[in-house]
Symmetry: C2
Subunit: 306 residues, 2 copies
């Protein structure tokens, strides 16, 4: 899905569109992006009234070369110089950013973390992303590849991950892996046959369905989400010990589960963090929800072209 919006200087969203993204042909995909910008701009009075374009990508963005290096959940874009193609079609300043970095920037400029200097933003969704504000600056690392929090090791053995390592956080807490863990519990523990999720087991069991069941006090759904929080808390504890951030902002689709996830995250983090660092750190849900990345990409484009 390509989601776009007209974001004003003050971070408010004026208009938004979305379109199912082309998955076979890079040129068609580029055309979709250009059409998205044009249709948003024309509803707003034309390109002249737009000052810049910010795009958040689900993958590694090489900030030196303006190039997407790895885009695990998208079509293969390695054959096109996406930045140049877009620059040719859209004569406006264009900023590329990793989507979780954009989310972090959004929550920092316009959401839960306004005014702070050291912030960890974590996005739990189909994949796991994160962005870091440290010393009052977005920190992307040397080429822009930072924030691969999903490949944090939480177990010395653990499951194999697509990245080639084992025991990565993502193998336990991404949306698809939450679904997998619910299925495993349903298979292995007969006491969960009373769960409302048992009905979905043969069909399409989704993370949305699991969150809904948890809200309706389903034991299995709540147990799996709590366990998810424990895994996330383990990794966050390591980051707090390493970076002494003032705030951890939790975002992404999975986090709409709310307190059933946030509470074990806080609890596990507290148990595994040195206390002076835990005591000066808040762990909160994001304020921008699913718009954090869109607003953040726009704010980045605004701030770089000021």
């Amino acid at each position: 899905m390509i989601r776009g919006a007209v974001v004003q200087e003050d971070s408010s969203i004026l208009d938004r569109r979305q379109v199912v993204s082309e998955v076979r042909d890079p040129q068609t995909f580029v055309r979709q992006l250009v059409d998205m910008v044009d249709s948003l701009a024309s509803g707003f009075g034309g390109r002249d009234r737009v000052s810049s374009v910010g795009i958040g990508w689900p993958g590694l963005v090489n900030q030196r070369l303006h190039r997407l290096e790895v885009t695990p959940n998208m079509l293969d874009l390695s054959s096109v110089d996406l930045y140049q193609e877009l620059a040719r079609e859209i004569p406006l300043p264009i900023v590329f950013e990793n989507d979780a970095n954009a989310g972090a920037y959004g929550e920092w400029r316009a959401g839960a973390a306004i005014g702070l200097k050291d912030v960890l933003y974590v996005a739990l969704g189909t994949g796991i992303g994160c962005g870091l504000i440290l010393g009052g600056q977005l920190q992307r690392g040397s080429l822009g590849f930072g924030g691969e929090f999903g490949h944090f090791k939480i177990a010395s053995d653990g499951l194999e991950c697509g990245c080639g390592s084992t025991g990565c956080l993502e193998t336990m807490v991404s949306g698809p892996n939450i679904v997998r863990r619910v299925r495993e519990h349903l298979f292995s523990d007969p006491s969960f046959s009373v769960s409302q999720l048992a009905r979905d087991m043969e069909g399409t069991l989704t993370c949305e369905r699991i969150k809904e069941a948890a809200r309706e006090n389903d034991d299995l759904a709540q147990a799996v989400l709590r366990e998810t929080g424990v895994f996330v808390g383990m990794a966050i504890a390591s980051v707090i010990n390493l970076l002494n951030v003032e705030m951890v902002v939790m975002g992404g689709g999975v986090m709409t589960a709310g307190e059933v996830l946030l509470e074990p995250i806080r609890e596990e983090t507290r148990a595994r963090t040195i206390s002076p660092s835990f005591n000066c750190c808040q762990i909160v849900a994001g304020q921008l929800g699913q718009d954090a990345g869109i607003i953040g990409a726009a704010m980045l484009a605004r701030d770089r072209t000021l």
Copy 2:
């Protein structure tokens, strides 16, 4: 041990002293520090020729309050305002810093990482410390407590750690825990009875002794150091995935073991890192050795009082 040196503007060491530190009485300890500064200064022509004093502490340094919060391997200093006491006795600018942050700063300003922007420095010794240069700045976190790399989780269960958590890196790879693991191997595996370390088992088995045996090709010593490298590599991989640093500098007393430790660190890190981030990161031994902290503390004092 209190180690002090006269460090010149260009980071070279002119003179050095050390003294066994007082462990019972804070006032005597303060006196030792003042005497150290005076004796170094007098050999150099007096206090007038010294521009500032930098001190690296083994513990958490609260940078807002100039206060030591936790000093696990030292006498309890909570009853004295150390910074004020020293400031009264030494009328020069004084800079407090965590010792691993000082080491990172030293290697960055005058050692292996000169000119880079994103660097992880790890000190393996009696404890595990680390310091981070990100975006061309020393990053200490909001209050200065960052760098607690020893409390990175490398196992979901694992041994209990002094910090209250379990599975911390420190429980496997600190000097005392390397000794513990050698003892455990000697107890549990009869094939290691041929190790030269078997002789030391009843007496004082030290990390120095283990490094020496490894240099002499002792199988047990080499196996335990290699295993140490694997644990360290797991944690470093998570940091590289998170921060996309250009260089990891390995320092601290344990690292004098050399390649037997560095090679498995590199190997394990490679296996557990997303490749674009691994490919742009060097993993090297520090160039300043045990002087990294002293030189770094002096450079910090120099740069803050410029």
